[in-house]
Amino acid sequence: MAAEGLRNMSDENNVDIATLEAYRYKDWAISLTIEDDEFFGPPTFVFYLDVTKNGVPLGRLDVVANLEVRGRELWMLEAHVHGLHKGKLGREGLNAVARAIMEDAGAEAIVIEGGARTTGARPGHTPQRFRYPSGSGAVTGSGDH
């Protein structure tokens, strides 16, 4: 690991993801770059992920979100994403992206609460919470928030 990544997250105000790092899963390589952050109140981040499959660059995923650590989960709140289309990533690519963020954070799960939708059939609507990996729901520390 070239940097501490998200591993220094002892509480929600101590998120550190100042990394430029490639995470590899099977055919996928994900590099995560923090572009901007602000730590007054809930930490807000702009970061992007460059996605490569079998050595071929597929594109970039841009993200803005408030990041909080809750127990061993990384919560991405009011998240907005654009760039590389999920159809191009496929399920495996999405999993690789989620795992890269989790690994950078040293988290065991990632929970994404999208911000109000800016496109699609119901703009303004807040999408349902998404958790990766789905199912367990057991790693959130009960007394953190």
Binding site: E38, F40, V46, H80, V81
Partner: protein, 139 residues
């Protein structure tokens, strides 16, 4: 520069909207918050302190699906012409809109520089006088 941001079309590159606002002097948190509120269909007033070129900014916002409407007090207010069009003397103008006669005289004779709120008030009196009358009317 003061603006009200509102949703004009789908925002297909939301992170770029945040970047644009930050480049023009807004804090990241406020830019993120503005994005969320605009997406909810709310008109969001923002202050952007480091705008180099207003037209470029407005065009860039439009390209991202957001309308930016500039806000500032009227630059030039000609009180005498407003009063003349309403066919009121200084005394009548003062009474009608709940102002001091001395204030009206000082504004009109340029003895007192018009503040931003005063310019806005006179702008409302010019366009919607009935609103001001309604506000100052005491049964």
């Amino acid at each position: 520069m003061a603006l009200v941001l509102s949703l004009e079309a789908a925002i297909t590159e939301p992170v770029n909207l945040v970047r644009l606002l930050v480049r023009n002097g807004m804090s990241l948190r406020k830019a993120h918050d503005a994005l969320n509120r605009v997406a909810q269909g709310v008109g969001v007033p923002v202050e952007l302190p480091t705008v180099a070129d207003a037209d470029t900014l407005l065009a860039d916002l439009r390209g991202l699906g957001v309308r930016g409407s500039r806000r500032e007090p009227p630059q030039v207010v000609d009180l005498k012409s407003i009063r003349d069009r309403q066919r009121l003397t200084q005394q009548e103008f003062a009474v009608k809109y709940g102002l001091e006669l001395a204030t009206v005289r000082n504004w009109e004779q340029d003895r007192t520089k018009l503040s931003g709120p005063a310019k806005i008030l006179l702008g409302v009196i010019e366009r919607h006088p009935e609103m001001v009358e309604e506000v100052v009317e005491v049964c």
